[in-house]
Each structure stands twice: as C-alpha cells, then as structure tokens.
Symmetry: C2
Subunit: 313 residues, 2 copies
C-alpha cells in the first residue's frame, strides 16, 4: 500500500498552495488516486471500474439501492425541505434571489435515515478501499437546485477549498452523491472534467473573511483561471453526469466540476457525503482565516464509520 | 392552401393578446404551422420532415452546406467580431457583465456573404414552402455566447414578442439558424419544448418603454409563468439542440425556447435569419409602445427574396 498521507503530522509545509497572491498555474498531483494496492483481493469494485476511477477521477454506479430504498430517500428529502425547523437552521443555505432552500449541510444530523445511509457498508466499503484507510464524514449535504431559476455554480476543485479553508493536508478524500431526482442533460446537472484530478490548479486571489457565507451560494474565490480551465477541457473534455434517481456518483476530491444554471421546470436534488481518510484529518487552514463552521467541516469527535449509525444522528 | 393570413388587412382585433394586465393562460393556435398543401409536389422537404416540423415545431438539417462554405462563414464571423466599427454599431449588443459582443443584429447589412446566404435558395425555398408565400427577412442576427461567462436566456416564444412589440399579426414566420461553432449539450445550447408551438402562452406584466434595450440582453417581460411552462414540458419534454458547425435548425415562430448559462470554455455562435411571409408584414405594435428599431424589425422597403442578394447589403 502506498501511504504518503500517514506522515501528515510531520509535514508542516503547504504542499498545495493556492490564493494568497499566487499566480494561476498547475501543480502535479503528489498523492495517489487509489490508495489500496491494485491487486488487493477484497476490492468491492471490479478492476475495470477501478481503472476508470483512477484515470477519469469519477465513477457512476447504478442499481446500488432498491426502488423501495430510493423512494424512502425521496420521502425523507421532501420531509426535510418541508420542515420549518430545518429551513431556519444555520446549516441551511438559501438561494440568493428567491430564498428557496438550496442546501442542507450536516444533513445526517437532521435525519436518522440519512445517518444510516452515510454509514452504509455499500458506500463506506468503497470509500475505505479507494482511500486505503478508515474513513469518516468530512461533510454531508442535501443539494436542492430548484427548477426555473436554479443558478449556475462555477468550476472548482473541492480539495482546493478543503485544503485552503479547512486545512485538509492531502488528496485523500472523495465525494459520493446519490441522485434523488432525475439528472437530465438540461437541468443544471453536474459537469466534470475527466482526468482533471491529476493536476492541482493554483488559484489567484485571497480568501475573504467568512468566505463560506457566500461561497456556499456562489463561488467567486478559489476558482481556476480561464487558461488553466481551457487546458484541462482541451485534454479531458466535459462529461455531464445524468442518471435516474438512485444513481451513485463517486468523484475524487480534486476533480474539477461545476454546473450551468437550470431554467427547466425539473428540480435537481442530490445527497452528498464527503468521505475523508482518518489519517487525513483537517488541521489549521492554509490561509489567514478562522476555520469554517463544524457543519461544513467536521473537526470534533471524529471516529471511523463501521457500518453503524453515522455520528451524532 | 390554407391562407388565413391573407385577410390580415381586414383584421383589426388582437388575436393573440398578451401582457397589458393579462392573466397567464393558453390560447390555442389559430394559424397553420405549414401553409403549403400537404400534397404539394414541389416541396423541398420530404414528407417525414414536413410531418416532424408540423408536429414538433422544429427541424434539424445537416449537410446543407459544404465544408468550404462553412469555413467561409466562420471566417466572416471572426472578421465581424474583430471589426471595431461593427462593435460600436447600434446593432451590436454586448454582454451585461463583461462587455463582450453578444449579438450583431441586421448582420446581413454588415456582410455581403451573409446577405447572399440569407437569400440562398436552399434556405429561402424551404421558408417559402413552409409559409406558403413569398418571404422577406424580418430580423437577422449573429449570436455569440462566450465561454466561461455566457448568460442564460429565459424561456420565450419569439412570436409573443414580435406580435406584441412589432405588431406581427399572425403566426406565419420562422427562424433558421446556422451553427458556426459546435453546439454541445453543455455549452448553453438552445433548448426547445417540442409541440409548444401549438399553443400561445399569454404572459403577464406590461411592456416597459424601450424594452428592446434590455430584452435583447435578458428577457424579463413576455416570459411565460411557471405553471404554463411546466404544462408544456410535461407534454412535450425538452430537446437540447446539438450539432456540428454548419447544421441548420429551423423552428416555428411560436416554439417555446431558451438556454442555460455557459460556464464551459466552448463559445457558441449561431447565425439567425427570421423569415416572415410577405402577407404577414408587421403593423402597429399590440402594446402602447413605439415600434422597435428597424434593425430589430424590418418595416421599410420590404421586397420578397428571390435568390439574389438580401436587401441593403
């Protein structure tokens, strides 16, 4: 096993500097994409899917859940969105223009069903294998992009933000999301740049104070320059991720992604779980700002997921 | 031949009222979609394409132009966009935020090549057949949606605007556009609601003074309500029109269409010609505003296109 992240505590330098007056440029990835050995006999994924994930940086899995399970997740989503206490919670982000609920962070704290799902071995087993370590939930959220007036979300690498603003040391985390509505090619679905996870894009600008308060609605800092983006797309193209409700999309923490606006009547909801390696816990942010709130970035009471309830449900 | 529009001069009533305090609702279309007889022997299109256009309201034609012709149109587009005199012209519309050129109206007046293309019998012959009449250019424009920061354009029926703001009496016009860059499913390509041309959506609100100055950048009046849109999409779905450069897309004047934003590096350029039936010339606007400028809506010196140069080149 290749375990460069196990020496985190010894590292004090910033291996992936960004913002703070940096010029836009590429840094080659210093970390593996898949941490378990290629010939590991207990892989929950077949070799061809591992190869696809390593090279492209993402994977789409169908049929992981039964129709009954998916219907249950959809009912839970509707209940959460209709719950005034949830709407008022600090974890809930609303659309700039309309006030509609756009995201519910730390959603596994609001829902026992989603806490069980976050810890479900069908998901956690894959995360554990890809990251070669025990894992925990760095962040969870329910994203709801309404129809007619859903706003675009500009290109970014999650890792760039998690590194700079949360102090995540290495690229040893991934996102899984479960589609709860159909993701069409026309309703602002996630767009990925395949292969972009292999290079780190240093972004210009600084990190403003309390950046998370605006960046969760509209990201304006930590976004790549035009020429870096054009180079990534020139090499890897763009994939719009579409799928029926219940599809699972897994993507590397450093994969460049974004989404166009949504003027169609089709709303788009996805349930996100970010799994981080236990050995890759966050430290001091690599910027001059205070750490973001616990509901965006877990720091307290971290323990590995072992198929039981996710923490705090 | 079904020729209801030949009696225009006798009609003084507003058959398609919209705005002016109207409540959002549907009016069934009173006009044919194809005005020539179904068994007309001189149709430039095969029966199945006519059927598709009648039922769906649009048609995509490939291979109408040679590779050399398409390359010539692309060079002409680049020359026009790089021409400071064109950028400064009143016919040229710029992006709200960036100042980039977004549209050049009456583009056939700036380019002899595009004037010849507007009058090309391969296009005009189809327009003449579908509209069952001699035709002229009601409006022409070169649309340029830049990469990275291309804005969305909300759902609308062109006819609603041409009727209310230009005084176009009946649904006897159509748009043809030629793709000059590749239209992907991810770069803000045109979205259509198939079959929506069969119903007229009455829009709420008024027409503000000099509406064209803002509506050509961002349409906020003359847009349908959510419930009407949802009903149209529920019945017809949404088609994102994709195609290689040089494809020709024809769509009925009353087809509901719009486009999402474009954060991809792929710019998107299309050359639009709006053909109107000679018998359907515009009159007094069906609102309390002055007519829009000549470069948005032709009124003077109208003469039928006959395969020679389009007027005024």
């Amino acid at each position: 096993m290749n375990h460069p992240a196990e020496k985190i505590d010894e590292l004090s330098e910033d291996l992936y500097p960004s913002r703070s007056g940096a010029q836009p440029r590429f840094i080659e990835r210093l970390d593996p994409v898949i941490y378990s050995a290629p010939d590991s006999p207990d892989s929950p994924l077949p070799t061809e899917q591992l190869k696809h994930y390593r090279e492209q940086g993402f994977l789409v899995l169908e049929d992981l859940f039964s129709a009954e399970e998916i219907a249950g997740y959809q009912r839970e989503m509707a209940d959460l969105r209709a719950n005034p206490a949830v709407s008022r919670a600090e974890e809930t982000i609303t659309e700039i223009s309309s006030g509609d609920v756009r995201s519910i962070f730390r959603v596994h704290r609001f829902s026992a069903l989603f806490a069980r799902l976050a810890a479900d071995e069908r998901l956690v087993g894959i995360a554990r294998h890809l990251l070669g370590d025990e894992v925990y939930i760095h962040q969870s959220r329910l994203n709801y992009k309404p129809g007619f007036r859903g706003k675009e979300f500009y290109w970014h690498s999650d890792f760039e933000t998690w590194h700079v603003e949360d102090g995540m040391p290495r690229m040893r985390a991934l996102s899984m999301f479960i589609t709860l509505t159909e993701n069409h090619d026309c309703n602002g679905s996630l767009m990925l740049i395949p292969g972009s996870h292999q290079r780190y894009v240093v972004c210009s600008g600084q990190t403003p104070e309390n950046h998370f308060k605006t960046s969760l609605k509209k990201q304006e800092y930590g976004t790549p320059g035009d020429s870096c983006l054009a180079e990534l797309v020139d090499k890897g193209g763009i994939v719009t991720v579409t799928g029926k409700p219940g599809s699972v999309i897994i993507f590397d923490c450093n994969l460049m992604h974004g989404s166009n606006s949504n003027i169609t009547p089709y709303p788009r909801s996805n349930l996100f779980f970010v799994y981080n390696a236990l050995s890759n816990q966050v430290g001091k942010p690599f910027c001059n700002q205070r750490p973001r709130p616990e509901y965006v970035c877990a720091r307290k009471g971290i323990r590995p997921l072992r198929g039981d309830l996710c923490d705090g449900a």
